[in-house]
Symmetry: C2
Subunit: 213 residues, 2 copies
């Protein structure tokens, strides 16, 4: 019974049944012990979930171990793309990362790499420090969006969209004129395309806001 063993068991359950089933009691059952035993290695459920995120991030390929020929921007987008793809396999973990500030070593390495790339792009120290937050927020949230589809296999997303459309139509053009105007543009494009656009928006915005007030 070790911290590693607990995290591994949790990861297995996560893959098989989702974050909702990653509970102290469930893990204890898998490890053939009582839930109380886990508290020697894990402070509480939040602590456990944070461990899970860092474990997943262990697989990230940092720019230092990649081709160095590409521009800082290409490399930054590639890194964030990898990060999003990795989290997309476990969108519920992305959800969690949105409100639990991660501090694990693998996460810190990611933050470090992004700051470096932003600095390569000419961002000031201030802009890089505040900007790393911004791009990670966009990336994490983009991955978390996928969790809205998962649980009920497509149904959730489809219904969310149709509910949206129905709601807009029901209210009539006069009530939400701008919403009616953009119409299906709201949900147009591919996940890939939207992510890329969002990252561009964030990066360009950061470069345009060097000075911090």
């Amino acid at each position: 019974l070790t911290r590693r063993g607990i995290v591994d068991a949790a990861l297995q359950i996560l893959r098989d049944e989702g974050l909702a089933k990653v509970t102290m009691r469930r893990i204890a059952t898998v490890l053939d012990t009582g839930p109380a035993s886990l508290y020697v290695y894990v402070r509480d459920t939040e602590d456990l979930h944070a461990q899970l995120l860092d474990e997943l991030l262990a697989d990230i390929k940092l720019p230092s171990s990649r081709a160095r020929r590409a521009s800082w921007r290409t490399r930054l987008v590639a890194l964030l793309d990898d990060y999003v793809n990795l989290l997309c396999a476990h969108p519920e973990i992305a959800r969690m990362a949105l409100f639990t500030q991660p501090t694990g070593p693998n996460y810190l390495a990611l933050v470090d790499a992004i700051i470096g790339l932003l600095a390569d792009g000419g961002a000031s120290r201030e802009a890089a420090a505040w900007g790393v937050d911004a791009v990670l927020l966009v990336a994490t949230a983009s991955a978390a969006e996928h969790s809205r589809e998962k649980p009920q296999q497509h149904r959730a997303r489809d219904s969310a969209l149709s509910v949206l459309s129905a709601e807009i139509e029901a209210a009539g053009e006069t009530r939400f004129p701008h919403l009616t105007d953009v119409g299906e543009l709201l949900t147009s494009g591919t996940a890939q395309g939207r992510l890329r656009w969002r990252l561009d928006v964030a990066i360009d915005g950061i470069l345009a806001n060097e000075r911090v007030r």
Copy 2:
């Protein structure tokens, strides 16, 4: 026993004891009934939480009912500032809004207003449609950050920061050189200042990315 009554009771508990206590059973107790009775008016817990968000958004002052003298940008920032301040009083709701796509009438009105302001600023229909997502994401996430402080009165945030610093120092300068370089800039500034900067980043980024690929 009405849907309104249930939402009101839930709102009261939210204000007094936080989202974690807003449970079917707790609400039922307050309304002096059994938990099963609520299911006539509310599909499930997620549905209930979504209702709560829209209820809070009822208090938002849309630009149409405000001074029209200011520039589109000033008005957009003011609107988003209000939205964030409103959610900051209930950061746990902000958290929830990050992963449950809201579709209530008050939320739709907010989205409609933001699209209108972005269009005023010269954003294309595409950029406005995709951009409204971007600014709301930044705003909502900024409000959600406050929930990291609330629960244990300051302790959480302080410890999160000190854990971060400790972790960085422990790892040594060589391991995370860029992180060490920006140092306390990472967490510098006021919440207000950071929010304003983030919004500027998002808005400038949107205007710089008119074309959607």
